[in-house]
Symmetry: C2
Subunit: 202 residues, 2 copies
Amino acid sequence: MKEKPTLRELKQEKKKEDILRAAADVFIEKGYYRTTMEDVAAKLFMTKGSVYYYFADKQDLLFQSQVMLLKRGLLTIKEILNEEISAKEKLKKSLIQHIEHLINERSGFSMLIKPEQDFTVEQESIIFELREEYGKCFDFPIEEGIQTGIFQTNDPKIVRNLLLGAMNSLVQWYSPNGKKSKQEFADHVADYLLRMLVVDTE
Amino acid sequence: MKEKPTLRELKQEKKKEDILRAAADVFIEKGYYRTTMEDVAAKLFMTKGSVYYYFADKQDLLFQSQVMLLKRGLLTIKEILNEEISAKEKLKKSLIQHIEHLINERSGFSMLIKPEQDFTVEQESIIFELREEYGKCFDFPIEEGIQTGIFQTNDPKIVRNLLLGAMNSLVQWYSPNGKKSKQEFADHVADYLLRMLVVDTE
DNA sequence: TAAAATTTTGAATATTGATTCAAAAACAAT
DNA sequence: ATTGTTTTTGAATCAATATTCAAAATTTTA
């Protein structure tokens, strides 16, 4: 049943890939809704009509580019699982792998709307201030804890961001149907997060 | 210079608030780009024209509703800072507060595009599968580590999600201009995250 | 090289949804 | 009740793009 792929088919495959890469790039940079089909086409010096020859519609482009990114990430991370190393090493390597994937592709599991892309500069700076102020509410106790020695870290800023990032992700995966009550859940999550700062058991 | 607010002005204030709340709700539920001004208006049994009487444009609605949410969150979290408790207590309380705020408002620091909102059901389920597969790559070593006793947690799923959430947030705040090299950075971050699982110092 | 198949083009169409606005309705003050 | 002010309405406008499509260009095949 296997057909030999003709030259043409190979070419077509390549073109599709190119388009997907370009699309992913632009989507990541400008956000899905703000990119036009022309943006994508322009990136490859084609016209939008051409893009439609390869892909059904804009949504298809988003979908397939997401699949591509995910598959690409999966490939490398799966290799790690097969290595002959301790679970801790394995996890650490996977984390590093994922982090580098994120940094390089600038694209995570979910697409973001960055407000700075829609707001005016004044609006943007106001939001920025508020977020800073909010962040400070975590920085203060962290700094205090470092002073008094209950927290151990050389990167308070990084940890702060990790804490906030981990929490904010809740919006996506928290389900109120779990076993735990809201309070219990919040309490446990807070404990796990706190562990990032507290190394010794008291 | 202070003017007594007339009945009318009070009413107007209230209406504005109502609209902002409604807008925030719909934005959170459907995502900014997918909500129309009519959606917002309908939520309050008004017509879109009316909304324009109170707000300049859609963007303004997004901006002001974000400000509202942020300010509301700030209010409660700031109180915690003034309490007479240890830094660790303070941080924990703040974390819990933030977590509950997130759960209740279903809105974090950034707006996300949830694929389930744009994709067809088939597309959605494919993406879902891939993400699951990806997540598993972290679950396996975590489970293994729990078995062998190097990891301590009763909530591997939660921790897994926290790890991924924290990492994915990188996309938003990581700057390549920091002191650390990419590798160093990834390594440190991974170490902090690992702390969530490893309680004892070896 | 000619015919057939594939790919590209860009203008035309379609749709969606934001924004405007003049008129109507509701309201407040005298 | 009358008049002036505020608010609401919904139809009309406007703009931006996604999408289509027939014709032109290109490539492959024989």
